[in-house]
Symmetry: C3
Subunit: 110 residues, 3 copies
């Protein structure tokens, strides 16, 4: 956590931006870089009867950190995605509840 789940991106592109992106996100979140998960989900998209390229979409799954951090976080992601010359992409944040999260089987929060 935080998890960045990418759909519609090349793995090579994410490799290229991964280090500076995670360094910057870790600073925003004030946590270690090894907390971050960057993961490309495999999928096939369809439109108008045909297989098409998947629209670039990033779902960030994490604990709630508030609007200000969210704005900074998405601005940082956007900067690196735009450096790949990907013109259109969307980012959505989803939250896990802290009392519904277990590390090695142990609940971390009351």
């Amino acid at each position: 956590m935080p998890q960045l789940l990418f759909r519609g991106f090349n793995v090579e592109d994410i490799c290229q931006i991964s280090k500076p992106l995670v360094d910057e996100l870790a600073e925003i979140c004030d946590c270690g870089t090894d907390n971050f998960i960057l993961e490309c989900l495999h999928s096939t998209s369809i439109f108008d009867g045909k297989v098409i390229e998947t629209f670039p979409f990033i779902e960030v799954k994490w604990f709630e950190r508030g609007l200000e951090t969210r704005d900074l976080f998405s601005t940082s992601i956007a900067k690196y995605i735009q450096s790949l010359e990907i013109p259109e992409f969307e980012i959505a944040f989803s939250t896990f509840r802290e009392d519904s999260y277990y590390v090695n089987g142990k609940r971390c929060f009351d």
Copy 2:
């Protein structure tokens, strides 16, 4: 958005129904067809020690549109899934928060 994430469906089947389905959903939502994402996630299912066919499941991710639209939306999806002679399937709706959604790095809603 809306995103229809399919698991346990053949891509060819979704291709076949995609155009009339999206036309109908766009009418229900009163928005353009190019807002819709149909995406098959790749997965492997397991039961009783063996790999099995994945149960047909559709997660719809969108902004909250209320019960009436949800009912119309799922009735439309069901009609097209049933036209493929798939007897059993489930649909779940998940919502994104509008203040947690960013287009090209810019938050769209306060």
Copy 3:
């Protein structure tokens, strides 16, 4: 439902634990074993510029069943994951809303 979505696990490992795990989870939930879905999502993870093994993560998607059931459920999952000698893994529970869930196109709950 409940759905156990695995990322970062071998399908063979999940096959190996699937029967006793689902038997135990069905007892905890007081429901039939055929309600359970175990599904490995295909993905590729990246860190520090390179493709790495995906961190073992399980998202449980179900209806809200309360803290006590959640604790029992995750303890059971953890026991079987640890029997595979996987030292580190995380589990998060996400809930579907009952009025947003449709079986064969029919809403099950008001």
